[in-house]
């Protein structure tokens, strides 16, 4: 969307309150969704729960194609469709719900910087492991990504997606990296996050912000998703304050809701956190 259109949409967004039937769309949880999409989706769900905004999660096989930007997850609120965490945060802000109002300019700069760090390192590493590592791509990513479709469409779509991701990795210079280097980058990123978090409950002390939602989304998904080997999860587990951070957010925002609604939150996972 052009900038003028975005401004116009946020004006319209500000006019109505958050409806009860807001829906979040993501690929199928059991069979189709991959690590990176699951992480992004969990981040958005966490953010909306932190704001206290109700949202129904709906799983569709073609969620990626329904999304206005081609990325999942996206939310359908009223008569607007917004995708990805950044625009969703702005959309919620236009409706009057914001988690980062209490931050001053320097803190907001830091928060944006750390969100970019997570996007730049963790998300890119997840994409690399899923699509550029041959073993994972063949055994896990391609079969899962194309599971709702029949032959020959499943092959075509899977290879198309793989080619697209590999082109992107090439453009940003990650194609020359080995898997060990990628694990090392993830470890450094976790170290930076761990040092920033320190002993505080949230990244900006008392109140959670969208940075907490994003970090939780990625770390929780990495810890609870079964890949071909556990090395990624091990890297994250070595930072105990990040583990307790994930536990805390899971307890605070997910356990009570799950107890209330009793929705079968079965993930492509080993269950809840170890």
């Amino acid at each position: 969307m052009s900038l003028a259109a975005e401004a116009f949409v946020s004006q319209i967004a500000a006019a109505e309150p958050w409806p009860e039937n807001a829906t979040l769309y993501q690929p199928l949880k059991e069979a189709q969704i991959l690590l990176s999409d699951s992480a992004s989706s969990l981040a958005v769900q966490t953010f909306l729960r932190m704001c206290g905004l109700p949202v129904l999660v709906s799983c569709r096989a073609n969620a990626e194609y329904m999304s206005p930007s081609g990325k999942v997850p996206f939310i359908h609120v009223g008569n607007q469709v917004v995708s990805e965490l950044g625009p969703i945060v702005q959309f919620a802000k236009a409706k009057g719900h914001s988690l980062s109002d209490g931050l001053d300019d320097v803190q907001r700069a830091e928060m944006k910087a750390y969100m970019e760090l997570v996007n730049n390192m963790l998300l890119t590493a997840e994409l690399y492991i899923q699509w550029c590592d041959d073993y994972t791509a063949t055994e896990i990513s391609r079969p899962r990504y194309s599971s709702p479709y029949s032959w020959p469409l499943n092959h075509i779509l899977a290879y198309q997606k793989q080619w697209e991701v590999r082109r992107k990795m090439n453009a940003i210079g990650w194609s020359g990296k080995s898997l060990e280097q990628v694990y090392e980058d993830v470890s450094q990123c976790c170290q930076a996050l761990s040092q920033r978090l320190g002993t505080q409950p949230y990244f900006f002390n008392k109140q959670p912000t969208e940075l907490d939602a994003l970090v939780f989304g990625h770390l929780f998904t990495i810890l609870t998703t079964q890949l071909s080997n556990d090395e990624l999860a091990e890297k994250v587990k070595s930072y105990t304050n990040l583990l307790s951070f994930c536990h805390r957010i899971e307890q605070t925002y997910f356990k009570e809701h799950d107890r209330e609604s009793q929705s079968g939150s079965s993930r492509h996972s080993k269950g809840s956190l170890p």
């Binding site: 970019e116 453009a171 930076a192």
Partner: protein
Amino acid sequence: MAEPMELLCWGGDWDLPSVHTDSLIVLAYAKFSGAKLAVKSIDWSWRTITASVPQLHCEGSTVTEPTQILNFLRKRRFNADYELTAKQGADTMAYIALLEEKLRPALLHTFWVDAENYANLTRPWFTSHSPFPLNFFVPGRQASLALSRILLTKAESPLLNITEVEGKIYSEAKECLNLLSHRLGNFHFFFGDTPTSLDAFVFGHIAPLIKAPLPSGQLQKHLNQLDNLCQFCNTILKNYFTDASAEKRMDCSPTATHDPVDANLQKLTQLVNKESNLIEKMDDNLRSSPQHRPHRHETKPLALAGERNLTPP
């Protein structure tokens, strides 16, 4: 420990030791950490198309990419981040990610994709600094690499056209510059009084943008309004890079009097600047004092506000 380390990078122009962002990052970090590098420019050599710049050669091993080179220098005990706390180290990583993600696409666009800048500044410069027949290929290849990087990382499905992505990347870049300016505040460097690797990265990204004579530079105009970033860049150039240019002048004309003359000239310029600052402050005070006709103060508020903006803080 004193084996000479050789750095290959693009040559310099517009008061900068190098026009290439990554090369500038490495050069700045080397100055900050005290590493002695023998700088070899790849201009006018076949390396313009074969080498991936910047490249550090040391004892037979080759390291490319700024982050790898900085790690290599740190392992060799040339560490400018020694005094940072753990949290500041984490902040460094985060801000570098911010620069790469938000500022670099707009920089690539300004220099390589924007038609006016590319035709009038970038392509002639790189063509004139490459040997025949490479001068036909080098700029074009860099431009297409830059365009594909922007499109692949920033263009999502409804924005496949470069013109629609432009608005988005420039607004993100301006936001990024504002964030950096907020973070820098009134300090000389990002973490106190000594420069660190974050300062090197920021310098490498914004110095070409400040110094290059761009024909159409909306990002440059935005950056010029952020005084503290311009000051930051000029401070680094003055403190860490002018001795290099003074040494070069000494090499060409072996007269030892040039060095003290330059130093004297610098001191004189600083004194003149301070004097003019003082004079402007006095002028301000006089204008706002109650003895100076108060009704004029009310009728021309805009003019005075304009003058106040011009006086440096």
